[in-house]
Symmetry: D2
Subunit: 341 residues, 4 copies
C-alpha cells in the first residue's frame, strides 16, 4: 500500500487525482495540500467529493513530504527546488506542470523560464507510458505530459518511422473549457463561452514546442507542427484533428492497430470512415481513442484522436505513471468508463 | 430625431442598447460612456459591433449630459445624485439598475441602500409598458424593471383581479448566464456552469420584493411569492414557471388573450397543453411569450413565460420605454425576430 | 458470484447497467439482449464500452432466462407476461419501466395500460432502497422507480410525518435530455434543444401519479403535486425544486440529516443557503444530493434535490436493488464519483 | 416593391428567409410554400414567427410561380426542371441546394446526380457577391453557395494570386448542428450531441469539390483541400481554420484588408494574434469575420473565418443576391447584428 501527497490539490487536476485515488486499491493515504485553502474541507471546493473524501486541505512544508509518491498538480513555481531533496529522501515525484517536460534546456527555459537544474532535467522521464514505459519504470522523477501533447503525440507516434512529411503536420484541437484551470477569466466567462467555439494562442501555444520536441526525439528528424487550439462549449475532453502529408500512404489502420496492440488505454477504432472519435466516449476516463484515415487522392493521412484532458491528459495518466513507478498493475484505479450517453 | 447617452455602455445592457439603437429610425446620435474603458473603441469590447458602430467609449461628466435621453445601464451608484439635475435640464432618464424600482422607501432602502431622494422616488414610473403605458408617456424618469420581475409580473398581471390566492405564488425561473453581467466569477466560470443547472440566492433574491411590491400595488392586496432562480447552460433568456392556487379557475386562456389583445410584444400562445414557451423562440427579441394553463384537478393555474433577459428584460424594454416617452412608435427599432433554429 | 441478463440492453438504461456491472466485483456474467440489434457488438452502439465489454447483443427467449438476476430495461411490453414464470424458476427480476410501480391497480391501468396481473402487482416491491430496504431484501420482483419520482420522493419523504401541507406540493424539475431515451425526435433534435430550456407534458406527466401514490401510501394521507418537467441543455441529471407550505416549519435541516444519517447515497448538503445541489456534482453517480431550506416569512419549506436520471434515477438504483436482493454489499459496483469539473 | 416565393419554406433556410424578408423594406409579398405542411400556419412550425408572420404554408404549382423572385430552399429535386420555364416567364431564381453550383458537369453529376441541363448549368452564376457581384447583377439564375464553401472561399480568395501552395490547403471546420437541417437523426439527437464535438464525412464531404472547383476557377490552377467538418455543441455558426503553406508569406493582413476594403459583410479583424473570430460575434447575421495570420517560422499562413451557416452561409446571402439581382441596396433587410453576449 502506498501513501500519496498532492501538492496543489485545490485545482482541477488535484480534484481528479483524489477522485481516482479514493478508489485505488493500493493507495491508503491521500494527503491533499493547498496553501491557499488550508484547513478547509476538500469537499467544500470539490463538491463531487462530499461524503466521499472527508479530509481538509493541509498547509505543507514541501521539503518534509514523506509519502511514497508526491504529485505536483500546481503550476511551476519555487517548490520545484525541493524536488531534488525529495528524490534523495526516497519520495518519487510526478509533476503535472510544464517545466522540464522539454529535454532541450534552451527551449525549456524559453517556454517556461524559472528554476534551472540540468541534473534534474537530465534525469526526468517524459511520462507517456505507451511510448516510454521502460524509462518510467525506472524513474524517480516523471514529468506528466501536457493535455494537447498527449492527444497529438499518441496520434502521430505510429507514423514517425513511415515515409511521411513530419515538417508540415497540421493540427487543430478542440478542447473543453477545463483545460485552462479553475481561475475565472473573461475568456471563459460563461456568457462569452456558451454556444461558442473560440480559437486562442493560435501562433504560440506553449504545448507546440513540447509536441515537436518529443516527436523529434523519437523520429530523430525535425518535426514541424502548425497547431491551432480552440475551446468548445463543453467542459472536458480534447479532440485533435491531425493532417500529415505522405507520398505513399500505406495501410495506416493496420499500422496503428499493431502499434497499440498491447495498450489498454489507447483504443484504435474500427476501420472505415464512419466510426470516428468524439469526446463523450472517453469522458472522465483514461482512454485515448485514435482513428487513422487515408485520403488516397490527396496523399493525406488524417488522424483524429480524443482524450479527456483532465484524465488521460492529466491526472489519469499521472496515476498510470504512478502505477508503473510503484510496481502496481498499470490499470489500478483506472477502470473508469464513460457513460452512454 | 433624438440623441441618446448611455452611461455604463461597457456592460451587456449597454451593448444591447447600442445594438438596438444603431438600427433605430429616430435616433441619430448614440454617445457611449464608460469611465473604465474611455477612449477604447466600443467594438473592442463588444465584438458584435465591429464595423457597425465605430465610436470610442467616452469619459463623461454626467451632470453635463445634454442628450434627449439618458440610459443608466450601470449598477446603482453615486451618479444617481445627478438625476434630478438632468431632469431639470430637460434630459429624460431611464435607469436599468434596481434602485427606486420599489415605491416603498423602506423596502427600497433595505434592498438597495445608497442614495435616498423621496421626491425622485415619488416621481419615478415603473417602466413596464404593457401595464403602465400612460404613466410612462408622461414620465421624465423611468426605472426599467428587473429581468425576473418582467417575466413574472407579465405572467401574473391578468389574474390579479381574479379569485386566486396571491399569497402562495410559487415561481421557479431558469435564467441564462448573462443575467449576472459581464464580470467573471467562479459561479459562472464555464467549467463550473457548462452542462449544469444551478440554483442560487434561493431565499433572498432581491427581485422578489420588486415582484411582490409591483403586483401588490396593482392588486391592492398582499402578494407572497416563493421565488427560486436558477442559471441554466444557455446565455440569454428566462423561462419562468408560475404556480397559482385558485378555488375556481376560469377560462384563463381567454382571460390572457383579452388582457394582452392589443399588446404586440406579449404573445399569448395558442390554447392547449402542447404549445409551450421556450427561450429560443424569443432570443434577442423584445417579445414575452406567455402560456396560461389550468389543472382542474388540483385547482392550480400554471403560467409559463419566456423573455430574453437582456432585451425585453432589459435594454429592449428600455428602448420601448424611450419610444413611449419621446412620442415615437412604440415598436421603433424593436423589429427583432429570433432565428429558427 | 452472480450472472445477470439485461433485456433491452440497447437503450441508455441498458448501457448504464453494463457500464456499472462490468466493474462489479460480484458479477461474472453479463448477458446483453436486444431483439433489434442481435449479433451486433454491444460496443458498436455503446461506443463508451469499446474494448471494455466485448460481447454481442443476443436474441433471447425471455422465458428461458436462467441468470440469477434479470433486468428489464425496455419499455413495458408483452415480455411482462414472462415475469411470473421467471420468478417461479428462481430468477429475480427488476423492471426499469413504469408498469406495476403504482400499487393501485386502477391508476396503474390508467397510466400504463397493458398486461394485468393482480398477484404480480401485489408482490411487487417499489425499489427505493432508502425507504423500502427491508421489503427489497425479501423481494423477488422489484419495480425500479422513475427518475423524477426518485428525485421528488427522496426530497419529500423526511417531511411526511411533519405538519406540512402535502396537498399543495409544487415541483419544477429540470432534466437532461437523456431522460426521453435514445430514439431521435424533433423535440430533442439538437438544433431545437441546444441553448434552450423546454417545458413539456406540464399537466399530465405520468410520473406524477407515481409520486403521489408512493408518498400517499407512506404518509397515509392524500398527496397532491403540481409537477412541471422541463428539459435543459444538458444530457444527464435532474434538478428538482420542491415547495411545501407549512404552518410551523421546524428545523428541517436537522430533520433531513437524521432521516438520511445512515444512507450513503443520499447526501444532505451542509446547512445554510449558499450550498445548493446541482447536476454536475452527481453526474454519472448513484448519489442524490438534497438540500432543505426554510423561508420563515412565507411559511415555505423548499427542498432542492439532484440525481443523475440514468444512474440513481435508473440503472444505478437498479444495481443498488440487485445488491440488496442478492445479499451483496449495497454499494458494490457503485463507487462512482463525478469529476470536478 | 417585390414579391417573393419560397419553395421549401418549412426548413431552416426557409424560416430564415422569412425572418429576414419580413423586415425587408422592398419586399411586400412573401409566399411560403410547403407541400408537406400546406395550410398549416407557418408560425406553428417556426415558433419564432408567431405574431410576426401570419400566413399559412401553401401548396404550390411551381410552374405557375409569378413572383419577382423564387427561392428554392428545398433539397435538389424534380422541381429543378421547372426552373427554365420560370426564367423564361421572367421569374428570377435563386437555389439554395447544391445542384448546379459546380460548373464542371461531370463533377456536378458525380456529387449531386439527378436532373441534367447543360444550358442551365452554363447560365448559372455562383452567388458569392463579394467575388462575383457583376455576374450576379446580370443573372437570372443564381446558385447560392454552400455554408462551408462560403466560409472557406472567402477565407482563401485574397491569396489565390499570391505565391502559396494551393494544393495542400488544410481546413478544419466546426459547424453548429443546424447545418444538417431539421430532420431528427441519431447523430444529432441531443443526448448524443450535447457536450460533444463530432467529426463526420471526413474524407468525402460534398462541399469539398465545390470549394476546390470555385477556387480552382478563380486561381486558374489546381486546388487541393483536406477538409474535415465537425459538429460542435452549438446551433448556428461555422468556424473554419484554414492552413496554407507559402514560401514567402507577405503581409497578409494588409492583403486581406485591401481585398475586402469595400465589402460591408466581410469584416477583416484587427491585426495581431489576440483578436480572433468566433461564432457568437456573427450569430444570426450576414457577416463573415476573417482573420489572416502568419507563422514566419513554419511558412504557414493561417486564416480563421466565422459565419452563421444559416445566414451568410445560406438565406442571408440569398437575400444579398436577391438585392443585387433586383437592383436594391445590397444591404437591404440585412442590418442584422449579433447580441453581446
Amino acid at each position: 500500500m502506498a501513501s500519496v501527497t498532492i501538492v496543489g490539490a485545490s485545482g482541477y487536476l488535484g480534484a481528479e487525482l483524489i477522485r481516482i485515488l479514493v478508489n485505488h486499491p493500493k493507495v491508503d493515504d491521500i494527503i491533499p495540500s493547498s496553501q491557499h485553502h488550508a484547513n478547509k474541507p476538500v469537499s467544500s471546493l470539490h463538491r463531487n467529493l462530499y461524503h466521499v473524501f472527508n479530509r481538509n486541505f493541509e498547509y505543507l512544508d514541501i521539503a518534509k513530504i514523506d509519502s511514497d509518491m508526491a504529485f505536483f498538480a500546481s503550476p511551476p513555481g519555487d517548490w520545484l527546488k525541493e524536488v531534488p531533496g525529495l528524490l534523495e529522501r526516497g519520495v518519487k515525484v510526478i509533476t503535472l506542470g510544464g517545466k522540464f517536460r522539454i529535454k532541450d534546456a534552451r527551449i525549456d527555459r524559453d517556454v517556461y523560464g524559472g528554476y534551472e537544474n540540468p541534473a534534474l532535467l537530465g534525469e526526468r522521464v517524459y511520462g507517456l507510458p505507451e511510448l516510454f514505459r521502460n524509462e518510467i519504470k525506472r524513474a524517480r522523477f516523471v514529468t506528466n505530459p501536457g493535455c494537447y501533447p498527449t492527444s497529438v503525440i499518441l496520434g502521430v507516434a505510429p507514423l514517425i518511422k513511415e515515409r511521411v512529411d513530419l515538417k508540415k503536420i497540421v493540427v487543430t484541437s478542440i478542447s473543453g473549457s477545463s483545460g485552462a484551470g479553475s481561475s475565472p477569466s473573461e475568456f471563459l466567462h460563461h456568457p462569452e463561452m456558451g454556444g461558442n467555439v473560440k480559437p486562442y494562442n493560435v501562433l504560440n501555444h506553449r504545448h507546440r514546442p513540447e509536441m515537436e520536441s518529443i516527436l523529434g526525439e523519437m523520429a530523430k528528424r525535425e518535426v514541424g507542427i502548425s497547431f491551432t487550439p480552440m475551446v468548445g462549449d463543453f467542459v472536458r475532453g480534447i479532440l485533435s484533428n491531425i493532417t500529415i502529408f505522405s507520398e505513399s500512404p500505406a495501410n495506416v489502420h493496420k499500422t496503428y492497430e499493431e502499434f497499440y496492440r498491447d495498450e489498454f488505454f489507447v483504443r484504435v477504432l474500427e476501420d472505415g470512415p464512419e466510426v470516428l472519435p468524439n469526446v463523450r466516449n472517453i469522458l472522465c476516463t483514461n482512454f485515448c481513442d485514435v482513428k487513422p484515415l487515408i485520403d488516397k487522392n490527396s496523399g493525406r493521412i488524417q488522424i483524429i484522436t480524443a482524450i479527456d484532458n483532465i484524465t488521460k491528459g492529466g491526472s489519469g495518466q499521472a496515476v498510470q505513471n504512478m502505477n508503473i513507478m510503484l510496481g502496481f498493475d498499470e490499470k489500478s484505479g483506472l477502470n473508469l468508463i464513460a457513460g452512454h450517453p
